[in-house]
Amino acid sequence: MSDLVQVAEDGLYCPAGDFHIDPWRGVERAVVTHAHADHARWGSEHYLASASGEAILRERLGDISLETLDWAETRRIGEVIVSLHPAGHVRGSAQVRLERDGEVWVVTGDYKVHPDPVAEAFEVVRCHTLVSECTFGLPVYRWPEPEGVYQAIDDWWRENREAGRTSVLFAYALGKAQHVLAAVDASAGPLLAHGAVQKMNEAHRRAGVELPETRYADTEAAKETRGEALVIAPPSSGGRPGWMKKFGRPSTAFASGWMRVRGRRRRRSADRGFVLSDHADWDGILQVVRESGAERVGLTHGKTEPMVRWLRENGWDAWSLPTRYEGEADVDEGAVDEEVEAPEGTEAPGS
């Protein structure tokens, strides 16, 4: 019997149900785990996604033929029973469970096991074969408790207010931005959002997520809240002096799992780096592998070789699945999960 999930030309493909999971290009039927641009692509005929993530997915892909499933609700497609389960990565992000004749596969999509005030908590789904992301699949990547990180962000913001400097925190517009907004002490001062972040905030509110009030970070707002505000902006805006100018001489910080490593922290040339990730760390991946009960583990995204080798040496049947995501023209900035791309060469030296 063939594998339930294979790597085809357009990405992960389930032949028994004739559908793709997070295809790289438009296909006939796409099951989409979440709205980040490396998972949700334009141009498919029909989409299936979680009901919880609908508003955000529509914000990104607009008028699509979309069918949604509640958590754990099942749908039969061809020979396969499909259901979606919270992945804890961003609001509405799903793991895809596939079952045929008692054989169960789970494709995790992006996920994390650490708690997040916006995304639904990760649920362990028992399976025979697990296809897991592996963005941070090295034991140097182990996250600190998020509560401590939130506290550190609050402290940094307070220090900046005391020094009369605006705080600009770079966080991915979809997911990390809302994660941070919901986690910080919003009563401490005004919250401003870059346009891309603001758009995603609205989509979250439409999905029923409670977020503190954020004001669009235009020149006027920047001026009125100078020295007080916490500004949430996508990382790319840090490289745009024209956009940054309105905040005077702000203190800048970057929130990402990559901040665990000093070299990467420096490369971002922000004043501070907060280790806050929406992906599973080394311990998180191992925890999910163990608790899922899977005997076979496929790994995708990131440097998969060390994790594959480690799992094999420890009794699992593990293999690596190619990832073929490349940023393309139709990617709008607000939706990129920049964390999946190691920030190599993000700031090429000026000439």
Binding site: L138, V261, R262, G263, E305, W310, P349, G350
Partner: protein, 539 residues
């Protein structure tokens, strides 16, 4: 150890010089002397040689964490820093040790060297158990000899001078040479300035302004003492209390880089301070600066090099004679005294020949004639003229109107190396393509790229330095610690919206590697803009 760990991370987290100096100053003020002296010892570049073999260290981490050795290596490849990799791999420990730095340094860093491997392992594992994650990183740096914080000796000197409320030159003098990291040493280094301390101090250098508009406004030529502008290392030669010292303009002691000049000591009168220039000199002529450069930044200057690049001290001012401060005397009077002093020294029996010279005066009938002479300056191996007001005192700093430098080619600037990229063809595998920055406030903005001007040997030296001092990598490009200063010559300058600095240079090339200059002394963007206003090609 806690305080020192915080200091390390503060220094590591910023590229701003002022923040580094502040952090260091705070540390030196607050730390107990017995710890501070160790910090100073490490910060000034001393290290525990071969405290522990890094291969062993990796295997111990593997054993302690239960990870296979290949995984430790894979993580090292990802992180790029062994000390950090090992700290990240060990189980997280938020707290820290109460052990003071002095104990850690003596018993857990220096002592390691004399232990057998198994004993070493015990100390290492015990330390891991006691230290927090952040402390482990710092400690790994100390025991692997890779302790660098992007704060050179100069910054450390400046910070310590502030903390001890001493002139930087006194501190620089006191921390030079051999000393042990003991509280006694600390007391000796930070004690208030005394006679011995002042004896070691140079006077603040009087600096010249560039004469951009020509001599029209300067009045009569008779009011000016004219000398060639030499292309060497500005220095003060001190002979006080039997001690011979040579200070560079950056207030760095360079005595040991020019050992032959010390042969002058026995024939110099005591209580003497001369201002002048160290020059590479042969057969009555200066050698190009590139030759002199070979003598810089070395721990030891060998006999061969001394023969190949002989140096002289070309004096042009006397600031102190018989212990008397002459700086308020007029330039003309000081000049006469200088000639007298050098005459006396040179006529002393046993005086080493050709080591001490007086910078000759240049005579001309008027400004026009002088201007004509200036055209030939390049052929003489000089950069132009120095114009010194004959009735002027030796003031402090860079006052206007006393000393002017009237250079032949003003199109030069001192820029800091910020990025390097590997070259192609013959230069493949070597970092040969450089990007240079100038200061905009506390930030270095790229101003030019240059590929030419260095000798093969300099390229190799710089390549090694780049590899050891990489901050970040962007594909084939590395950003480096902003420490190396180069004089760039160029043929033109114009505005450019494509460049972050707003200017573009025409045919920039490296005229010289200014190893004697600190990055902070490099040209500012304001100065570049002044050049632009004056010499801009238009766009």
């Amino acid at each position: 150890m806690k305080r020192f760990t915080e200091l390390y991370h503060e220094l590591d987290a910023t590229t701003r010089t002022t923040l580094k100096v502040e952090a260091l100053e705070r540390y030196f003020r607050e730390a107990p002397p017995a710890d501070a002296v160790w910090a100073l010892w490490f910060l000034s570049g001393r290290r525990a040689k071969r405290a522990v073999n890094t291969t062993l260290l990796r295997s111990w981490v593997a054993e302690e964490t239960g990870l296979p050795l290949w995984m430790v290596e894979a993580c090292y490849a990802e992180v790029g820093d062994l000390a950090e990799t090992l700290a990240l791999l060990l189980p997280r420990a938020e707290g820290g040790t109460e052990l003071p730095l002095r104990e850690v340094a003596a018993e857990r860093v220096l002592a390691l060297r004399d232990l057998e491997d198994e004993e070493k392992r015990n100390v290492v594992v015990d330390s891991w158990n006691r230290f927090g994650t952040r402390e482990r990183l710092v400690w790994h740096k100390l025991i692997t000899g890779g302790f660098r914080v992007g704060a050179g000796r100069k910054l450390v000197t400046r910070a310590l001078a502030r903390a001890a409320e001493l002139p930087p030159a006194v501190v620089a003098h006191r921390i030079t040479g051999q000393w042990d990291p003991t509280p006694d040493s600390w007391e000796r280094i930070v004690r208030p300035e005394d006679a011995e301390g002042s004896a070691a101090r140079p006077y603040p250098f009087l600096l010249a302004h560039p004469l951009n508009d020509g001599p029209d406004e300067l009045g009569a030529l008779e009011d000016w003492q004219v000398e060639w502008k030499w292309d060497g290392i500005r220095a003060q030669l001190l002979h006080r209390g039997g001690e011979f010292l040579l200070w560079s303009r950056g207030e760095e002691l360079v005595t040991h880089q020019f050992p032959e000049l010390q042969e002058l000591a026995p024939v110099l009168p005591d209580g003497l301070v001369l201002d002048g220039e160290v020059l590479a000199w042969r057969d009555g002529e200066p050698l190009p600066f590139g030759a002199l450069q070979r003598r810089l930044g070395r721990k030891k200057v060998g006999e061969t090099l001394r023969t190949e690049v002989p140096v002289v001290f070309q004096a042009y001012d006397v600031l102190e004679r018989d212990g008397e401060d002459l700086r308020s005397r007029p330039q003309a009077e000081r000049r006469a005294l200088l000639e007298e002093v050098v005459e006396v020294v040179s006529s002393t029996p046993l005086a080493p020949p050709n080591l001490l010279k007086v910078s000759p005066r240049v005579e001309a009938s008027g400004w026009a004639a002088l201007g004509a002479l200036r055209e030939g300056a390049r052929d003489r191996g000089v950069e132009g003229f120095m114009l010194k007001r004959r009735d002027g005192e030796y003031a402090v700093g860079r006052p206007r109107g006393l000393w002017w430098k009237w250079k032949v080619d003003p199109l030069e600037l001192d820029a800091v190396l910020i990025y390097a990229q590997q070259g192609h063809g013959r230069r493949a595998g070597l970092y040969t393509d450089y990007t240079f920055g100038v200061w905009r406030g506390e930030e270095l903005v790229p101003v030019a790229k240059a590929y030419t001007g260095l000798t093969d040997k300099q390229i190799r030296t710089l390549d090694r330095w780049i590899r050891r001092n990489t901050r970040e990598r962007f594909g084939p490009v590395r950003s480096v610690e902003p420490e190396q200063v180069f004089q760039l010559a160029f043929d033109g300058i114009r505005t450019s919206s494509r460049h972050k600095s707003g200017v573009a240079l025409r045919f920039p090339r490296m005229a010289r590697w200014r190893q004697e200059k600190a990055a902070s002394e490099a040209t500012t963007l304001e100065e570049v803009e002044a050049l632009l206003a004056r010499y801009g090609d238009g766009d």
